[in-house]
Symmetry: C2
Subunit: 207 residues, 2 copies
DNA sequence: GTCTATATGTTGATAGAC
DNA sequence: GTCTATCAACATATAGAC
């Protein structure tokens, strides 16, 4: 790996943590340099400006969702519906791990950057879409356990909504209970959907 | 009304709009002075610093929720369940009115301010709690139309979650559809709860 | 590619006359 | 209470030697 690639990687890693902990605007280039032990020249040799660091960070989230988020969350969980709640359990764990200061990095950036460049906004949107898309695949795998008229895309987005809203309220109140109650409500939602599908089974081919 | 009170009111109003449009960190004192046509001396005569302007803004949201948000949303809507969706419809209207750039001012500030002063955090929490509390009152008014074991506090928070998540995704994708699908899912949730309560009516006193 | 020094602008906040 | 002028700190980004 070339030295520049290493430098780039160190910057992206440090910026990822700093943007998550302090936000984009409150993170200075000096913060990134301090954490990476690099000099301004090195950073500006790799990135034209601060926004390009943000873009690289969002690309890293996009490219790492499978390996860094879904894979560890779904370790040993095969049932597609339970995978949804296993992912939410992982967020719960992160909330506890950070003393209820955890914020979803994508969600926080999405709300912090009010007049974001189209490239940045697209990357935020792609990150959301991939997250919800992963849930949607679980819902597809659940097949006819869900009612036939279930909008699986909408339900995937709904799970993302519950995560974001739960994380937001838990952080603001410094209390996981707000996240837990949201997940409980979502569990009730799924229970009712599954019960409805069980009461009115799908027409089987040949009926 | 004393001149200072007028000055204070103008600053709070301007800051409210600016924090909503640009965020707290990206709004400078100069922005506020420019919009209010005031000078630095006047602002710092009323407020010790920028954070105190934020506190005043959050207090204004807290004190205005009934008059500025709930009252207009519930004009002519009496059914407690429909009031919930009328409030969400008002958010939909704001999303459209802003070309899908609308962000909930409280939610945005809650995620932007990573290391907020306890006073600020409490005010954010109170704003959330009052919003969810207003929904909870609707749910209480719905009485036995909802299942007896329904956690009405949790469900009120859940409605807030759906609003925040829907607004967040709609803004990021610049597409109301994301908000609409979230509200639809919540409608399904309520329909299932109401149907469940109708199937298993509450034990009536004397049964 | 990396270093140091620095340009250039903006920030929140203050001083002191009126 | 309001005005103007200004401070000190910090921001992003650049220049040019090595």
């Amino acid at each position: 790996m070339s030295p520049a690639a290493d430098t780039r990687g160190r910057i992206v890693m440090a910026a990822m943590e700093l943007f998550w902990a302090k936000g984009f605007n409150s993170t200075s280039i000096a913060d990134i340099l301090s954490r990476t032990q690099l000099n301004a020249g090195s950073l500006y040799h790799v990135f034209p400006g601060k926004q390009d660091v943000l873009i690289a960070v969002l690309e890293a989230y996009r490219d790492g969702i499978e390996e860094n988020l879904l894979k560890p969350a779904w370790e040993g969980v095969d049932d597609p519906i339970e995978r949804i709640f296993a992912l939410l359990a992982r967020y719960r764990w992160m909330i506890l791990e950070t003393d209820c200061t955890y914020g979803c990095p994508i969600g926080s950036l999405a709300l912090e950057l009010h007049e974001a460049d189209p490239v940045v906004r697209d990357l935020l949107a792609v990150n959301f879409a991939n997250w919800a898309g992963a849930i949607e695949q679980c819902l597809a795998a659940a097949g006819d356990r869900l009612p036939a008229d279930t909008d699986r895309r909408a339900l995937g987005e709904f799970v993302l909504t519950v995560m974001e809203g739960g994380v937001m309220q838990a952080r603001t109140h410094r209390d996981v209970g707000y996240f837990d109650r949201g997940v409980d409500a979502l569990r009730t939602h799924f229970d009712m959907l599954l019960a409805r599908a069980a009461r009115r089974p799908e027409p089987v081919q040949g009926d």
